[in-house]
């Protein structure tokens, strides 16, 4: 018998965690002498109050959907992939190489090519930690952390020494060809006569992210492969007994995870910057951890959590603009969300379970 109903597990626990995180953040804002209510109003106004705000919120959310899905897929195989940051950075390199060196006449053609480039490099960056975990038992958390730093150094080298155009001081690649620039959502709206979100970076990648959510859901819950990933995540001896190869599934789960993280690059590198810059990922890989935990490792939850973090990100930027609260407030909120939904999960869950047990006993008694 489950200790509490499913809806409580899926909705109530993340919600309580979120409320706790928000409450503590409010205390922090109070402690630095600002009004939490005003801060909240500024954030909502800035992120959701206009189509301009929405344009940025959706852009950030797109990034977080990809990295959140990446963490989620690995998590189902009980692998904790903190390497999203490095994998997404490498995905950026894949996009840049594809767009700079393959002549592509139209964005509709460039998009799939760039996606393949991003996914291949992201997956490749996850491959070595995966194979080391599977074959040699090296802890994937440690190796993926190391690979984040190696990716940063490698990209630094590539940008400064190889991809930087002659005469440019900026450690960034050349601009991608005009024809490959993705249409932004505001362009799409403009073409049907609606003015929406001018000068915002949200682009068609958002729909690809939504599609990715659906595909990941199908993969995890509707395919044999997904079943094998989940079986391995629940119990390795059980999976082996069922004839599932842990090496194979570990590697496949990590390749999918790395590929998804890498695909984030079509949003930020191809869609927004339109060239590869240093530190293009800006921590989105790590936010994926919070998004996956908050979203209870379900694609729909990831989508909602990504929207929430997109809102926090854009709202946080507005906060820094209009009040004296710096952007870093968002990092604190993000830390608290990770803390409550990930590490202190039991603290929220145990009293809830007790509550539901007591309620049920009362029902039985009556």
């Amino acid at each position: 018998m489950d200790k509490m109903p499913k809806w409580a597990d899926v909705i109530l626990t993340p919600l309580i965690s979120l409320v706790l995180a928000m409450a503590i953040s409010a205390l922090v804002i109070l402690a630095i002498g600002e009004s939490p209510w005003e801060a909240m109003k500024t954030m909502v106004q800035g992120a959701l109050g206009s189509s301009y705000g929405w344009g940025f919120t959706l852009y950030y959310a797109t990034n977080f959907i990809f990295t959140g899905l990446a963490v989620m897929v690995a998590y189902h195989a009980s692998l904790f992939n903190i390497g999203g940051e490095g994998q997404a950075a490498m995905g950026g390199l894949g996009v840049a190489l594809a767009l700079l060196y393959i002549p592509l006449p139209h964005w509709a053609l460039a998009l799939p090519v760039a996606m393949v480039g991003a996914a291949i490099l992201g997956a490749a960056w996850a491959f070595i930690p995966a194979i080391l975990q599977a074959k040699r038992g090296s802890h994937i958390v440690i190796t993926t952390i190391m690979f984040n730093f190696i990716a940063a150094a490698a990209l630094n080298y590539v940008l400064v020494r190889l991809l930087r155009p002659v005469g440019s001081m900026d450690p960034a690649s050349a601009r991608f060809p005009e024809a490959t620039n993705l249409p932004s959502l505001s362009d799409a709206f403009a073409s049907i006569g609606i003015e929406w979100g001018r000068n915002t970076p949200a682009n068609v990648t958002f729909f690809i992210a939504l599609l990715a959510c659906l595909l990941v859901w199908l993969l995890i819950w509707r395919t044999r492969m997904g079943y094998e990933i989940r079986a391995l995540g629940k119990s390795e001896p059980g999976a082996v007994y069922a004839g599932i190869s842990p090496v194979r599934i570990t590697v496949i789960a990590m390749l999918i995870s790395g590929g998804l993280a890498g695909m984030m690059a079509i949003n930020n590198v191809m869609g927004e910057a339109e060239r590869l810059v240093l530190n293009a990922v800006e921590g989105a890989g790590f936010i994926g951890i919070a998004v996956a935990l908050m979203g209870r490792n379900h694609p729909f939850g990831v989508l909602l959590a990504a929207l929430l973090f997109g809102f926090l990100y854009q709202g946080g930027g507005e906060l820094a603009l209009w009040t004296s609260i710096p952007r870093e407030l968002i990092i604190v909120i993000q830390a608290l969300v990770i803390l409550f939904t990930g590490a202190l999960d039991n603290m929220v869950r145990m009293p809830l379970e007790r509550l539901f047990l007591r309620l049920r006993r009362k029902e039985v008694a009556e």
């Binding site: 190796t143 710096p326 870093e328 830390a335 590490a343």
Partner: protein, 344 residues
Amino acid sequence: MRIKDSLTAIIVVAICLVWAFVDARAAQQGIDSALRLMTPLLLACLAGLYSERAGVFDIGLEGKMLMAAFTAASAAYLTGSAWLGLLAGIAGALALSLSLVHGLASITFRGNQLIAGVAINFLASGLTVLVGQNAFGLGGRTPSLSGAGRFNPIDLPFAETLSGVPVIGPIYSGLISGQTILVYVAFAMVPLTWWVLFRTRFGLRLRAVGENPASVDTAGVSVTRLRYAAVAICGVLTGIAGAYLATGLSAGFVKEMTAGRGFIALAALIFAKWKPWQALFATFLFGLLEAIANLYPNLDLGIVVVPSMFMNALPYILTVIILAGFVGRAIPPRAGGEPYVKER
């Protein structure tokens, strides 16, 4: 000690000797800089050693150091005393590791230690800037420290008289003397840690808790208390490390000033296979790599030119190779990362 265990030591000494042979002045400057750069790494590495030997994996070293650096710099600026800064640094890291997060999450509520570590890193990275901007209004920096607000170099006795003597002179007066007190503290921690872990009852129990907590519990010793003690020691050491960063190595706190040092310390811990003496040499090696990368942005080895980015990434690459187990396998404490659930 087997030859495999002292491999790092041999490599470190070889690098120093070759360097001294090629260019003695640059070597003295570089090794001096390496000693200073390795100090926070060594302290953080030993901090992780206590924690992980007791079965609590700690990827939050970075955040604890960052928090400590901030509280230390703030207190040192406000009081004008580096020593009060040091205390504040220890308090900052301790508060973060114990009360709030690590203890509660990984010991009491049996949560995921790795996720707790990630949360600690973000919490420190956000809070330091948030509070710093509010208190000093310098975009997350603290005002720069001077005079007694910093730990200043101290000259050891006879440093002046011995400086003319060949070989001993440059080593004693140029390298060993003239460091700040916290550098000596860090080096003294190595034999102390060895003694505590391998020659005291507390150390034996600590190691046992990391390998097989059930047996410790059966013997009537509290697993929870031991792990809290280990996490507390970890907090104190990361506190000193952070305080050294802000008040010894540089003059004040800068946003994100740990710059991945917590992770390099973690790498060094794996490199050292969770042993104190090896930790000394592993962090020395990583300090040397950093110093070399700083001194020579393009290291010309005759055959190849090594860019500084490669030097910066080398600690991580080496650690992955060690983890892969091709060169001397690194085996972590067996119960590491797992919360202990008492049988009922």
